[in-house]
Amino acid sequence: MPKDPNEEFPRSDPAVTPDGPEQQEDPAPKRKGMVVIYHGDGAGKETAALGVLFRAHGRGLPVRHMRFRVIEPGKTTGDDLALVKLNVASDVITDASQAGAHQLWRVANLHLTIIQKGVLVLDGLLDTISMGWIPACAVVESLSLKSQQLHVIITGESAPTELLEVADLVSHMRAIKKRPTGATAIAGIDF
């Protein structure tokens, strides 16, 4: 057991930031639209992006979901069904190719220009960069032009240095334990 709980569990940990009258409001809290990256080989990247969206939607902020990953044809994902239930607009890549990625990236650029606040999720965008389909510098440039009130959440296996540099929050999801390869995908957990 840690001797000084303050060290182990710092007060500034937003995980336990209270949302009541106890909260000491800074007269001018430093806030900005964040670029958030969830990357790594562990589970939880897509779901973390979804979780942010859930929270923001709960606060009444505008949210939009974009998926740069191709889902098995005919498979209905819990993510898509949940977005429909929440009445959240989403865009999905239709073709796992450079052309498909470009098409969705053009739409993403429109969103990045038009959406002034809230949360925009670019799920799997990092993988299209890794594939060489979308240049990292183009993403960095588009992010630099976005509104200061818009949070952008980007996910994928690995992130290029240029993007890590401009990101405000980066978490690396490392797989300590994974399900065995070839394990049957479970509805509600894996998709």
Binding site: T17, R31, G40, G51, V52, F54, R59, G188, I189
Partner: protein, 178 residues
């Protein structure tokens, strides 16, 4: 889906110092809820009756998120009371898990009461290991106890690479962080 077709439930742990543990659990809840499964979240530490973005959203859509805690535990004047709240919350978690009628149960920040000794790790491990086989349980929080990691199916360590509060002095923002 009938009982017999249900897959074996998984024990999933989101641990580590980085941001995204609770958030990923929320996303997993959303995914399961999208698949018309029943989901519940029990939060430790976070103040009883907290009204974060997730609570507001969950309320709108009939998803249960129960937070029981006194917030900043190390500021607590009465540690017996803090322990009692955690034990009481654990009893609720255990009852919900044993009832077997919820597909996915999230025990948010549940690693801390174990670390601080408010809950007995062996009791928690036993309850999770002997749960109804179809129930998925997600545990979040830093420093997951090795006994929990041992019985888990999926463990993700969320590593803190860049943190805006530390690196830029930016405060936690409603909608993004809570």
């Amino acid at each position: 889906m009938t009982q017999s077709q249900k897959p074996e439930g998984l024990l999933i742990i989101h641990t580590g110092d980085g941001k995204g543990k609770t958030t990923a659990a929320l996303g997993l809840m959303m995914r399961a809820w999208g698949q018309d499964q029943s989901v519940k979240m029990f939060q430790f530490l976070k103040q009883t009756g907290a009204r974060f973005g997730e609570h507001r959203e969950a309320e709108k859509f009939g998803i249960s998120i129960e937070s029981r805690g006194d917030g900043f535990t190390w500021l607590s004047k009465d540690m017996d009371e803090t322990t009692a709240i955690a034990v009481d919350q654990w009893e609720r978690c255990k009852a919900a898990i044993e009832a077997g009628d919820t597909d996915l149960i999230v025990l948010d920040e549940a690693t801390y009461p174990v670390t601080y000794g408010w809950l007995d790790v062996d009791e928690v491990v036993a309850a999770l290991a002997n749960r109804p086989t179809h129930v998925h349980v997600v545990v979040t929080g830093r420093d997951a106890h090795e006994k929990l990691v041992e019985i888990a199916d999926v463990v993700t360590e969320v590593e803190d690479v860049k943190h805006p509060y530390r690196d830029q002095g930016i405060k936690a923002q409603p909608g993004l962080d809570f």
